[in-house]
């Protein structure tokens, strides 16, 4: 059965027979739901459906552009946010004039993201394994795990960044109170995100059927060996899409570390704006973040689609 028969059809409501005719599978003119190949942004097949969706897309985009252009403040906004000169100036930066390069500052975001990502993957796995453990000896750690997850999922990331970024240096401890701002930022990101990601791991561990544990243990594998070779690999496979989704979010949230004064892209853009009184620098920062997140988003889609195909193939056999 072609699965697109049961999909929502973007052209459905406009079809001659009304929306229900497509769902019921009656052969409406223009043949809805007859083609079904690969992942589609434009669901539903047929030349007519494609024409309708193209037209409606053009109308919507055209309307948005028109509103932007005819708005009373349009010229002002175009100058303030989309000035090519200011976009270029903020991108390359000019320390003599008192502002930093947004293009260079994004590297700090990338570095913070990469460091945080690795630490989160490890730390949250430890939390998840502790919370999943059953040994009575680990009871105190399990309680700590619950408190930790509740605490850091409940407190806004911005407050965690402020608390660590300003609190830890104020303690005046040797070494740990004298780190670069980005280190405090990464610490806060790791603490906050690990609380979420440990729950994703836990869901993944629970998604592996208990019979797999029984099969592994029945062969004489210890609890740890069974976890390491049988349960965890399957769990991780199941949670790659949601994990990547969290990491897309993490890429953007590195911008929050700017509140500490670290010169990351968003902060550099802000400095440009308050120095030159032109906010095209924010547009540059936004474009740079998009260039980072969109490839990861597409990669996530690709993995989800591959997983869906594999599941379908698995059901057939």
């Amino acid at each position: 059965m072609d699965d697109s028969d049961y999909r929502g059809q973007p052209g459905g409501p406009l079809a001659p027979g009304g929306p229900l005719s497509g769902m019921a599978g009656s052969p409406a003119p223009g043949s809805f739901g007859t083609t079904g190949r690969g992942p589609r942004l434009l669901t539903g097949g047929g030349r007519r459906a494609t024409a309708i969706s193209t037209a409606s897309t053009l109308v919507v985009i055209g309307a948005l552009v028109a509103i932007f252009l005819v708005a009373p403040g349009s010229g002002e906004v175009r100058h303030t946010f989309f000035s090519p000169h200011d976009m270029w100036q903020s991108f390359i930066g000019n320390p003599k004039k008192g502002y930093y390069s947004v293009g260079a500052a994004i590297w700090l975001n990338i570095r913070m993201f990469l460091a945080a990502e690795v630490l989160i993957l490890v730390f949250s796995l430890v939390i998840a394994l502790i919370r999943q453990s059953t040994s009575p000896v680990l009871f105190p750690l399990r309680v700590l795990g619950v408190i930790y997850v509740d605490l850091f999922r409940g407190v806004p990331l911005l407050l965690v960044i402020l608390a660590i970024g300003f609190g830890v240096p104020a303690l005046e401890l040797p070494v740990i109170s004298h780190q670069p701002l980005a280190v405090y930022g990464v610490t806060a990101l790791v603490l906050s995100y690990s609380a979420y990601v440990s729950e994703v791991y836990r869901a993944g561990l629970n998604s592996v059927h208990r019979s797999q544990v029984a099969a592994a243990r029945s062969l004489g594998l210890s609890q740890w060996t069974a976890m390491r070779y049988v349960i965890l690999p399957q769990a991780v496979r199941n949670i790659i899409p949601p994990l990547l989704n969290d990491f897309i979010s993490l890429q953007k949230d590195t911008a929050l570390v700017g509140v500490l004064g670290a010169i990351e892209a968003n902060n550099a853009a802000q400095i440009y704006g308050s120095t030159v009184f032109n906010y095209s620098s924010f547009t540059v920062a936004a474009i740079l973040f998009l260039l980072l997140t969109i490839p990861l988003a597409r990669f996530t889609d690709h993995l989800i689609e591959r997983d869906r195909r594999r599941r379908l193939a698995g059901e057939v056999t």
Binding site: S211, A214, S218, L219, G220, L221, V230, Q234, G314, T317
Partner: protein, 255 residues
């Protein structure tokens, strides 16, 4: 494993085994002995406790009361290393439970390499030999979802055999298979029996049980009601409950 008794040809001995799941009493005092090289079949309606008995014998379920000996050594109670016991007791499940993220070969060699510390090359050689023996040559690189149910179950049997167990526990290993795939799995079990493997088999295949078993045990409501050679149990069952069960089986056309 402690309390070694005088040398016996006894593979497994179960005495007074009780097991409950919450308020539900599944096993109410089971006594059972299986001699080395003996094949014993467990029959009985679904829910009679066959699977639970096998899972208890593999220590997958903690027991409430009773004692189990393996090859004369006590394996229940305090101070028992369950992982050590399970090396010697192979179990095959109704639903295969192969590891889907590993190739057939890796499914088989995982436990020998990680538990017995057999060198990988040696473990793979043994695995290939077993695959050849059970008609699965050339399948070692495949993932389980590429195999038919019958092939998967044969791989699961090979996986358990790779640990060179003293006894094999088979838990309704053909119940999840399409009828045309049942024979190939039963053939494997016949070959194992011919090779002298000690087996305790829970099954719904009465014809097969009559064929292969030296003794057949009928379970009902967590007790072994009757324990006799198949010729006796299937033709002239003594207990009225066994007669009733077999009559239902015959009516259903399964004997």
């Amino acid at each position: 494993m402690t309390e070694r008794e005088p040398a016996s040809a006894e593979a497994i001995r179960i005495e007074g085994l009780h097991k409950s799941f919450g308020p539900n009493q599944v096993l109410k005092g089971v006594d059972l002995r299986v001699a080395t090289h003996e094949v014993v079949c467990l029959i009985g309606a679904s829910g009679s406790g066959k699977s639970t008995l096998l899972r208890c014998a593999n220590l997958l379920e903690p027991i409430d009361a009773g004692t189990i000996w393996l090859g004369g050594s006590r394996i229940t109670g305090a101070g028992i290393d369950q992982n050590l016991v399970r090396r010697h007791v192979g179990i095959v499940f109704q639903s295969f439970n192969l590891f889907p993220h590993m190739t057939v070969l890796r499914n088989i060699t995982l436990a020998p390499t990680k538990v017995l510390r057999t060198p990988r090359a040696e473990a793979e050689e043994e695995a290939r030999a077993l695959l050849d023996r059970f008609g699965l040559a050339g399948r070692q690189g495949d993932y389980p979802d590429r195999l038919s149910g019958g092939q998967q179950q044969r791989v699961a049997i090979v996986r358990a055999l790779a640990m060179k167990p003293q006894i094999m526990l088979l838990d309704e290993v053909t119940s999840a298979l399409d009828p045309e795939l049942v024979a190939e799995v039963l053939d494997v079990i016949r070959e194992l029996a011919a090779g002298g493997m000690t087996m305790l088999i829970a099954t719904h295949e009465m014809g097969f049980a009559r064929d292969i078993a030296r003794r057949v045990c009928f379970l009902e409501e967590g007790r072994i009601i009757e324990d006799a050679p198949p010729a006796e149990l299937f033709t002239s069952p003594k207990d009225e409950r066994t007669q009733r069960f077999l009559r239902r089986i015959v009516d259903a056309g399964r004997l």
